[in-house]
């Protein structure tokens, strides 16, 4: 018997009891829709995480003071750098030297060989009293950071209006400020240009606003929109007091941009070598600084998102499994109910294989058709969900998740259809015909 005949027979059988067919499909529809929708959330999170990391600059190394296991700067060590960790496990620890402007100079000297295209030291001012004030308005919890002109390049920041901090500002330790979008909005409203040239008060000193940064969205760690940038020299000596170490001013972090992503590991090694020499660390000592590799962070984020996607997907998979059991249940009922039909078919010449394929195809049609409807429903949910849940910036339905859901529902039809179909095929015709 041709396959087409089997399909026709199966389709006719399914249309006879429409309500039951639809209810059975519903189990599969919900399962597949859940898989598609939840996996799309996972992928959406991955995408927005990638975007945020990329906006920070993918070719970025962040150097902070303190060895591993020390107070270490920045968010927890990315897994990519863990080999380095273990390789230093049996080394001695030395009291960490702070990063200084001398370190920055040493890196600048090595820039050519280490493929560095930008070196931006920053100094975070911690001893602020009160916020940033303009007339009656005050912006709270603003992070005030001293930077150099390279910071704009390294962190992909171009002021929306006005100018960025210049080398001249750094050299002359001028009292100028570049405002983050949120700070500017709090103090001056949405007309950003009106901020330029005004004076804001920080720690009882007046700073002239020379630029406002564009809105970054709520990206990255800490909120880059709620920030105020001043020349690094001003931050070190006027606004805060960095103190000196071996006659050189201290810095909080050094951001280093590498010319290409391929050179990241090489550059990291070069920077490490330069700093170890500068800090006079013998081979028996651990690093007393911490280098965070943006590429590794990206990888880490990706791993995180993959785990999340797998987690959500497997929860949805459970409901798909339940749907599959529903298909099996209905197929078993159907075999019992149609015992006589099976007997008739066998009496007029149906072979075991014919009966087997007929019931198998019924189960497959149930789950595949349910699967297609489920894809449509899941896709709709994925489209509508970001509109309802504001925290979720986007969802991504990939071809993979659709293929996965389709394949999975076909597999479920096959798996849960085999048992009832085998039972039907094994029925002996005389007994099946006698069945009332």
């Amino acid at each position: 018997m041709q396959l087409w005949e089997s399909i026709t027979i199966a389709l006719r059988a399914l249309t006879i009891n429409k309500l039951r067919t639809i209810l059975t499909m519903l189990g599969i529809i919900i399962g597949v829709a859940a898989v598609i929708a939840l996996v799309s959330i996972g992928n959406g999170v991955r995408q927005s995480m990638n975007e945020q990391f990329t906006s920070l600059g993918t070719n970025l190394l962040t150097i902070s003071s303190g060895g591993r296991g020390g107070r270490g700067g920045g968010p927890g060590g990315p897994p990519g750098s863990q080999e380095e960790d273990t390789s230093q496990d049996d080394l001695l620890e030395k009291a960490a030297e702070p990063l200084t402007m001398k370190d920055v100079e040493a890196l600048t000297d090595a820039a050519q060989t280490a493929h560095l295209v930008g070196i931006a030291p920053t100094y975070s001012v911690n001893n602020l009293s009160g916020g940033v004030v303009y007339e009656q308005e005050e912006a709270d919890d603003v992070s005030v950071t001293g930077v150099t002109p390279d910071y704009a390049i390294v962190r992909n920041m171009t002021p929306e209006v006005g100018l960025f901090i210049s080398q001249e500002d750094v050299d002359r330790r001028t009292r100028v400020a570049v405002l983050g979008y949120e700070v500017a909005e709090t103090l001056f409203g949405t007309n950003l240009s009106s901020a330029i040239g005004k004076s804001v008060r920080v720690n009882n000193a007046q700073y002239e606003v020379i630029g406002v940064l564009p809105e970054s969205g709520e990206g990255g760690f800490g909120n880059p929109d709620n920030t105020l940038l001043v020349p690094i020299s001003t931050a070190q000596t006027r606004l805060g007091n960095s103190g000196t170490f071996r006659g050189s001013l201290q810095v909080s972090n050094i951001y280093v941009e590498v010319d290409s992503q391929d050179n990241m590991d090489y550059a990291e090694a070069e920077v490490t070598a330069v700093l170890r020499e500068r800090h006079r660390l013998g081979t028996e000592y651990k690093n007393d600084f911490n280098i965070q590799n943006q590429a590794q962070l990206l990888e880490f984020g990706d791993t995180l998102a993959t785990t999340l996607t797998a987690f959500l997907g497997s929860i949805a998979g459970v409901s798909l499994l339940v749907g599959g059991i529903g298909v099996m249940n209905i197929m078993l009922v159907s075999v019992t109910e149609r015992t006589r039909e099976i007997g008739i078919r066998k009496a007029v010449g149906a072979k075991r294989r014919d009966i087997l394929t007929q019931f198998l195809i019924e189960a497959m049609v149930l789950s595949l058709f349910g699967g297609f409807l489920g894809i449509a429903v899941g896709y709709s949910i994925a489209v509508v969900l970001p509109m309802l849940v504001t925290q979720l910036s986007s969802t991504v339905v990939t071809a993979n998740s659709i293929l996965l859901a389709t394949g999975f529902s076909a597999a479920i039809g096959l798996f849960f259809g085999v048992y009832p179909a085998t039972r039907a095929a094994r029925l002996r015709p005389i007994e099946a015909l006698r069945y009332e």
Partner: protein, 260 residues
């Protein structure tokens, strides 16, 4: 024994069932020969083994021992799939309860055996229409069983049985669920098919009324053939008054054997 025109050639058929602790002897060495074009009935009270015999002759079941040649082919110990194939091509069934597929049109029901033979759609349709016309249902091919009377349903079943051009049609109490008028019609169709088309037909029944329509009557009791007689002048369907029976035991080619 391997005569060319023997459709059924069964030797020493034995069928025993195990019912719990008890062994049931449904058939005890039954031998039977049926020639091409015969119209015969197998009679007997319930429990006589006539249904078992029909199942074996119809290739729905296998004998415990004994030989069964259907058109010269040994089918006694064939595998399940092989039997399905033979049933589909060489045997037509007509049952007491019609056994049509519900919610399926008359023509689709008649096409059913041909689907499993792998005959293409056009050919199937053509042959099904012809078969339905032969049983006088040419005008109702798209009716579903629940839209047809009992007699009409049985005609659909007959059309389904003969559409594959089988060697035998096995009819199990074909008029059991019908009123007397429909019964006469159905018997008329069978007789007509037998006479005009030369189709071999075996009735299995406990109603003497049906057996009267056949030239040969075999009586079964306790799993054995106890009588095999020829009716010289079988009753014509539609003729109400009983035709006098001219008895006589039909002996030549068939051995009536008792065994224990």
């Amino acid at each position: 024994m391997m005569s060319e025109n023997l459709v059924v050639n069964a030797e020493d058929l034995v069928k025993t069932y195990q019912m719990g602790e008890v062994k049931v002897h449904a058939l005890r060495k039954v031998s039977l020969q049926v020639k091409q074009g015969e119209l015969l009935s197998i009679m007997g009270p319930s429990g006589s083994g006539k249904s078992t015999l029909m199942n074996i002759l119809g290739c729905l079941d296998q004998p415990t021992s004994g030989q069964y040649y259907l058109e010269g082919t040994d089918v006694a110990q064939l595998a399940d799939n092989k039997l399905s194939q033979i049933r589909g091509k060489r045997i037509g069934f007509v049952f007491q309860s019609f056994n049509l597929l519900p919610r399926t049109s008359a023509i689709a029901n008649v096409e059913l055996p041909m689907i499993y033979m792998g005959i293409n759609r056009g050919e199937r349709r053509r042959r099904a229409v012809t078969a339905l016309e032969m049983v006088g249902l040419g005008g109702r091919i798209h009716h579903k069983p629940n839209e047809l009377s009992g007699g009409q349903q049985q005609r659909v079943a007959i059309a389904r049985a003969l559409v594959t051009d089988p060697a035998i049609i096995m009819a199990d109490e074909p008029t059991g669920n019908l009123d007397s008028k429909s019964s006469v019609e159905i018997m008329g169709i069978f007789q007509h098919l037998n006479e005009e088309q030369g189709i071999t037909i075996i009735f299995v029944t406990h109603e003497p009324d049906i057996a009267e329509h056949t030239r040969r009557v075999i009586r079964l009791a306790d799993g054995q053939i106890v009588e095999d007689k020829t009716i010289a002048n079988p009753r014509r369907a539609g003729v109400t008054e009983a035709t006098p029976l001219e008895g006589g035991v039909h002996q030549p080619s068939l051995a009536v054997q008792g065994a224990a």
